[in-house]
Amino acid sequence: MMQFDPNDLNSILPLVVLLGWACVLLLVDLFIPKGRKGWTAILAAFGLAISMGLTLGRAGQIGSGFRGMVVQDGFSTFLAVLILGSGLLGIALAYDYMRRMGWERGEFYPILMFSVSGMVLMAQAADLIVVFLALELLSIPLYVLAAFGSPRPDSEEAGLKYFLLGAFATGFVVYGITLVYGATGATALREIVDATFAMGTPSPLLLIGAALIMVGFGFKVAAVPFHMWTPDVYQGAPTAVTAFMAVGAKAAGFAALLRVFVLAFPLLQADLVPVIWALAALTMLVGNVIAIAQTNIKRMLAYSSIAHAGYILMAFVAFGDSAVRADAVASALFYLLVYAITSFGAWAVVIALEKKDGRGLEITDYAGLGRKRPALAAAMTVFMLSLTGMPPTLGLIGKFYLFRAVIDAGQIWLAVIGVLTSLISAYYYLRVVVTMYMREGEPETTREPWLDLTWSLAALATVVLSFLPAALFAWASGAILRLF
């Protein structure tokens, strides 16, 4: 008989606060009059901030709860901060945008908080059942959020498409979990790894199970060939949601992949490396090459997001190599952080130019931005350079860290593919810069306080932190995965 231990709650305290706050906010929202839903946003942001404060305050603590089903370690703290930060930025972007687009509804913010909770839980999950629970908790609200632009058809389409493919992906994960359970008789990562060591050579059942889990999360992080939904969903969803999804869902997907594979399946390294290698290479190639053909900025950034999933997957190749995997995980986390800051900035700029009815989203609409809004264009230039990996931006530092881990793991050819595809990416990122500065036009832009704050702070951080990355490196390398 399982006993309830109040200490268990302590291990997920920030999460409890977040979920409780979201539930209460759903009720409170009923009493906030229509047209003043900004208050819901502010309250939601408070909830996220408190949860973030709790997470940071407990940063050094390590422990587990619910009989080892959830853990708290450096890894989960790092990702929780990153995810809560994305939630906050998501709200900052949505604040005026949703009203301007005529989609302002109070329930948006609690739903977003539920999704954030799922992502935070994913970072802490140490049991496949919890992984599944977290996956559903983060995904279902995201389906709703993607369709929040209803009755605009492309948003409805995005929601439906994301739902169908997401459900499909979840199916893969569940099937994988059952096979792993069948092979090892366990769902806890600790017990799975013990069982695989006892097994010696991994059984085909276990391999297939692990591969199915990888496929499922491949959908979530938008790795090729499981990326088909990404451009349509990213394009159709309200841009603030897209920004949140691009960072949050990716962070949660990689959280699950890293924790499950590094902790539970190190023995499958030899069998899975070629698969991950091919996934990473394909993702980088396809993402970057197809991005060239895009004329819509949201689609272009969607393909760019696919490509960046490929870069992070490169670090993942070394998941079973105990000599380098700590560094590989740290570099993946650091890259996620860099991508989060940069991509939120870029999406904020997209929102500043977006008009009702989906106008203002073509790259040609950016013509003349350099003259009309010098600061906004400069910020966008910084983001494009950072995504390319040019100095003086964090993007370059992220690539430094990532490629060192890849070379250290002995995957030189993968690193070569990585740098060559980033050369390809320079072409389409530069095209945005070319359009902004070297073509004439009269772009219409919006000035909104939270939006302006987001892109200006993101640009500042992207440049300034690139000169002072030591603290971030230390933080990422301290984000160690622990097995309890």
Binding site: D327, A330, R371, L385, M390, P391, P392, L396, K399, F400, F403, R404, I407, D408, I412, A415, V416, V419, L420, S422, L423, A426, Y427, L430, V434, Y437, M438, P469, A470, F473, A474, A476, S477
Partner: protein, 516 residues
């Protein structure tokens, strides 16, 4: 405090003062913006002269070493060992001075040429100067790479916004081409960092021979590392057959951009060879020397050959760079003191002469808006000062004795002729033909444009109610300092050789014995 008072940092980052000032100045006050940029770049030049005096004092005590350096821990976590390391020695001091010298002259040349978005232009120009100085002074591979890649960004804007009709194409081509080389270098840098546990260049030069000897980095790996660095630098130089970005970038860039591109940015490539490739991968450098010499000689002849076919005078000057930089590469990979000293001097010479040629071409283009050689003729009679200066600069570019180009090319050829590493005097022999070819295409250009009957452009200009004017005071002020150095190096190059000789000798001594 070390960071802020270090002379090298002061020189490198002083243009940022201008950047900050420009940011707060109103964009409508064009002359104010120009003067601000000019004065700040002159300040940087002044600081670099002060740095030179300090350098000479330090060099008297410890010749051939890195001086005025500082090395601060920068990123020392998570297995990284990155330092903020700067330093200057005989290999880089002249290039630093060339950069700080050409920048104010280039800014002065934009006085009437750049009327659009003056503020942004000056911003990018000063940022570019920071990047270039950083490249020449950085002594840590990580820091170097950041400066190296950073120079791409302002140059890309300078070409892309203020360039000619095909500017966007040229800017993107420039960016992608250069980036293609440097990303391979990035992987090589990371590999070295992992193997040696440091990114500091002086430490690596001490540590790497041990790693080679113990087999941690095998000869094959050393060759690959050498090739990866070569990819970055050879594109920048540019060496034949990787030169095709250069004519586009040069022709489309605004005059000041071309001056800096030819004068300084190309030297970043040759400097990379002498600072990194040769001392860090000595065995590979010795092995590769004949091949690089071969490419260099092909570049010399090909560049000169293509010059004949040019109808556009700016393109002619651009292709002449391919030829001249071939000489520099030949001298470097002679791997003896003579060849290298000649090469370093020739880097400076090319910066001065080709920079001056681009400036002169820009000055006439501002009046006529055409660069087609065929429409010119008899200019010397109409614009005597312009013609005379053009003659001196052209002669310097083709290597007439008594002017700077001769000293550099002659020393290079002597070095290459007796080079053990290249192994055959034929390379120098064929390269010497390049000198003659240079004389032909330069004189052909000069004859077509400045001698003979008046060209059709003179009539054309008259039709519009203008007349071709000679150089004005501002333009003469730009050219005089360049002419001073053209004569100075041509007549008395000893002070310049003295600056670099100890460092070059130290570098050559460290190379492995060459056995054929």
């Amino acid at each position: 405090m070390d960071f802020l008072t270090n002379p090298l940092n002061l020189v490198t980052f002083s243009p940022l003062v201008g950047v900050l000032l420009l940011l707060v100045l109103p964009s409508g006050r064009k002359n104010l913006l120009r003067w601000t940029a000019l004065l700040v770049s002159l300040l940087t030049f002044g600081l670099s002269i002060w740095m030179l005096t300090q350098f000479q004092a330090a060099e008297a005590v410890a010749p051939g070493e890195l001086h005025l350096g500082l090395s601060l821990p920068w990123i020392q976590v998570a297995g990284w060992n990155i330092t903020y390391a700067m330093g200057v020695d005989g290999l880089s001091i002249l290039l630093v001075l060339l950069t700080t010298f050409l920048t104010p002259l280039s800014i002065l040349s934009t006085w009437t040429a750049v009327e659009e978005r003056v503020k942004d232009f000056m911003l990018f120009f000063l940022l570019l100067e920071v990047g270039m100085l950083g490249v020449f002074l950085a002594q840590d591979l990580f820091l170097f790479y950041i400066f190296w890649e950073f120079t791409l960004v302002p140059m890309y804007f300078l070409i892309g916004i203020w360039g000619g009709p095909r500017r966007i194409y040229a800017a993107i081509k420039f960016f992608l081409y250069t980036m293609a080389g440097s990303i391979l270098m990035l992987l090589a840098i990371l590999y070295i960092g992992i193997q040696a546990g440091t990114f500091s260049v002086p430490e690596l030069i001490t540590a790497l021979p041990g790693l080679y000897a113990s087999g941690v980095i095998a000869l094959g790996a050393q060759m690959l590392l050498f090739l990866a660095f070569t990819a970055a630098f050879a594109i920048k130089v540019p060496m034949w057959p990787l030169h095709s970005w250069l004519p586009d970038a040069h022709v489309e860039a605004p005059t000041a951009g071309s001056v800096i591109l030819a004068g300084v940015l190309l030297k970043m490539g040759t400097y990379g060879f002498i600072r990194f490739n040769i001392p860090m991968f000595p065995d590979a450098a010795v092995k590769a020397a004949p091949w690089i010499a071969l490419l260099a000689v092909i570049g010399i002849i090909y560049g000169a050959w293509v010059c004949y076919a040019q109808k556009d005078v700016k393109k002619l000057v651009a292709y002449s760079s391919v030829s001249h930089l071939g000489f520099v590469m030949l001298g470097l990979f002679a791997l003896n003191a003579q060849g290298m000293e000649g090469a370093i001097l020739q880097m400076i010479n090319h910066g001065l002469s080709t920079g001056a040629l681009f400036l002169l071409v820009g000055m006439i283009y501002e009046q006529t808006h055409t660069r087609e050689i065929a429409v010119y003729g008899g200019l010397w009679k109409i614009t005597p000062i312009f013609g005379s200066i053009m003659l001196v600069v052209s002669l310097s570019s083709m290597g007439l004795p008594g002017l700077n180009g001769f000293v550099g090319e002659f020393t290079i050829l002597l070095g290459a002729f007796g080079s053990q590493a290249i192994g055959s005097p034929w390379f120098a022999g064929v390269a010497a033909a390049g000198v003659i070819m240079a004389a032909i295409y330069i004189l052909y250009m000069f004859q077509k444009m400045f001698l003979g009957p008046e060209g059709s452009i003179v009539e054309e200009i008259k039709k519009h109610g203008h007349a071709l004017r000679d150089l004005n005071w501002r333009e003469i002020v730009i050219m005089v300092p360049l002419l001073v150095f053209i004569f100075w190096i041509g007549l008395y190059p000893k002070p310049f050789f003295d600056l670099m000789a100890p460092a070059v000798e130290k570098l050559v001594e460290a190379l492995p014995q060459i056995v054929h």
